[in-house]
């Protein structure tokens, strides 16, 4: 197995977008693509932690951003990483207007549905990126 694809999400603590991205990322790295995908603390990366920077520099990265400020994507680039794919939770919400959600601390039913949808998309992208290495 090659190097795991890094899925890096924004921390998004103010709105549900960040929580959905976070939950989806954990679904991918802990369940759907365990071993093929990994994550790291965005704050560590932004703080300039050497271990985090080395990890990002040597990996294919998927940025998962909640809002248009794109903290995840921008900071991957600033740290010398290469973004192989990007996902925006707001785009997901536009595609699924029926799934209204607002809960931040603990996702509600619609939040969980959105997280699962996003996780499936990310997992498929992990597969594509992993195949490129074979």
């Amino acid at each position: 197995m090659g190097k795991p694809v890094l899925v890096i999400q924004c921390s998004g603590i103010g709105k549900a977008f960040g929580s959905i991205g976070r939950d989806a990322t954990f679904r991918v790295v802990d369940e759907l693509r365990k071993g093929k995908a990994d994550t790291l603390c965005l704050s560590l990366l932004v703080m300039g932690d050497e271990e985090a920077r080395v990890k990002v520099a040597g990996a294919k990265c998927i940025a998962v951003d909640g809002c248009p400020l794109e903290c995840a994507g921008k900071n991957i680039v600033r740290s010398g990483g290469v973004i192989a794919a990007r996902f925006w939770v707001m785009e997901l919400l536009k595609d699924n207007r029926g799934l209204k959600t607002g809960e931040v601390t603990f996702l509600d039913e619609n939040g969980v549905k959105l997280s699962k949808l996003l996780a499936e998309r990310i997992a498929r992208k992990v597969d594509e990126l992993a195949e490129e290495d074979q």
Binding site: I8, C10, S11, G14, S43
Partner: protein, 98 residues
């Protein structure tokens, strides 16, 4: 003239690497939503770190509590680096040891 006290900032590490970060995040949200909703505010730590003057000024405008999951202390260090020393701080790892 009315003296309006600034709200207290509560800034959690993002802590995606381990469950300690999730605990710090959930604790922060509980303070904001349930325990002290009227007197607290927060900001995403990566945004605070990577932001401009407005974001960096957060802890200058608000007395701020850093909530860190692990001993790397990203929240505490970030606040000290860009604004002032935090008014107080909590480390979830230390709480678990206690």
């Amino acid at each position: 003239m009315m003296n309006i006290k600034p709200k207290v900032g509560v800034v959690s590490c993002s802590g995606e690497c381990c469950s300690l970060g999730t605990l710090s995040r959930v604790a922060t949200r509980l303070v904001l939503e349930e325990y002290r909703p009227d007197v607290t505010v927060t900001i995403c730590l990566p945004l605070f770190l990577a932001g401009e003057l407005e974001e960096h000024g957060f802890a200058k405008e608000h007395p701020t509590i850093a909530v860190d999951g692990c001993g790397k202390l990203c929240a505490r260090k970030a606040i000290a680096r860009h604004s002032n020393e935090p008014a107080d701080s909590v480390v979830v790892e230390d709480l678990l040891e206690q």
